[in-house]
């Protein structure tokens, strides 16, 4: 048996990544992707900070996907965490759409997370995307539910000055769409029966929407799941996306995501 000493190069050179991050790195690489220089260190810090803030565990009741900081399409479909270790389905993305800064939509391709919100989760739910391009055309970036079933528009152009649209249906579904004019997070979540809160970059707000039981539909990314079919898929680029239980600190989550994106070089 060989014993490592403090002066052994194998010990000294070990980067010391977060163990959960290392497990995810292995899955991404097994799917054929290659991390950019420095990306593993950035993601390791991301994991450590999320766990410190309690902002990682909520996604284990949904799914958290990362699209930036590595090459190769396969890694986009290896979740950082997901309910029951579920894997998403790639619906139409091809290799050339994977860019360093994220995954580029084409108005058709989307991801079926194969998991969704659960019965009883209507007052403890969150969903977000991190945008990494600038555009003005509408599209849906993540969501479940129908657009015409009593949905309430939470945020719009007037409120957010060309920010994203957030919608919450009377049946508890969530969708996030555009246009959008900056690189940043769009997040909405509910922690109480009468109110939704949302982030659009540094701006935040609340809207009174009485909750009902969620639609038990799988969440789609790059589009919205309308009864099993995608509706209005976006042709824009996302760098992160996820959903799950409500986050204990959405503001800290935005800061952590923005730090990761800065360190990955995802800038305008």
């Amino acid at each position: 048996m060989r014993t490592l000493t403090l002066f052994d190069p194998a010990f000294v050179n070990r980067p010391g990544f977060d163990p959960d991050a290392e497990a995810w790195f292995a899955q991404v690489e097994a799917a054929g992707s290659v991390f950019a220089e420095g990306a593993k260190a950035a993601y390791s810090k991301f994991f450590v900070q999320l766990k410190s803030d309690g902002n990682l565990a909520p996604f284990s009741n949904g799914m958290l996907l990362a699209f930036a900081g590595f090459s190769g399409l396969g890694g986009c479909f290896r979740p950082i965490t997901s309910r029951g270790n579920a894997l998403p389905t790639n619906v139409g993305f091809v290799a050339g759409q994977k860019v360093a800064a994220g995954l580029q939509g084409n108005g058709s391709a989307y991801i079926n997370c194969n998991v969704g919100f659960l019965a009883g989760q209507q007052n403890n739910q969150s969903a977000f995307v991190w945008h990494s391009d600038i555009y003005a055309s509408p599209g849906v970036y993540l969501g479940t539910g129908f657009g015409d079933d009593g949905s309430t528009q939470l945020g719009d152009n007037t409120l957010f000055a060309n920010g994203p649209f957030f919608r919450c249906s009377s049946s508890g579904a969530i969708s996030i769409g555009g246009p959008r004019t900056e690189f940043d997070i769009a997040l909405c979540q509910r922690t109480q029966a009468s109110e939704f809160s949302y982030l659009s970059g540094s701006r935040s707000g609340n809207a009174a929407v009485v909750s009902q039981a969620p639609l038990l539909l799988d969440v789609f990314m790059f589009t919205r799941n309308s009864g099993g079919s995608p509706t209005n898929p976006t042709d824009r680029r996302l760098s992160l996306g996820g959903f799950g239980d409500a986050l204990p600190n959405p503001g800290a989550y935005r800061t952590t995501c923005n730090t990761l994106m800065t360190e990955l070089g995802v800038t305008p």
Binding site: T89, N90, P138, G139, R224, N232
Partner: protein, 129 residues
Amino acid sequence: MTPDQLALKELLDSAPLAWVQLNPNQRSLLRKTLRPDGEFTPEQRELLQDRYLPITTEQLAQAQRLLLPRRTQVNARADADGAMWLPADLLTDCMEVSDTYHAIVGLLAQLPITLKPADDFPAPSPLDI
């Protein structure tokens, strides 16, 4: 774009042509141009932008249920008239055995590569989001 690539683009601009209708030289050039080595190059984007493959619901169902492996599907986009279209991007990831959509290369190669401006597709309104 090289003069050859430009000539191919102009040919595809002039009339829809399926992969199987191209001559060997045109196929070779298109294949060489479209194969992504990493992310799409500006030339590839220019050649692929607004190009779609018409598909019927029956063909789509066959591709999804019988041919493609689990966790891999294709999704068509409906134009303003209700016709279904696949993005021509799929041609870039189906030619080799190891490609994601190789199982449906026989179908994709038969579909004419068609120029479809973005205006042909209905734009969602905020209320649709």
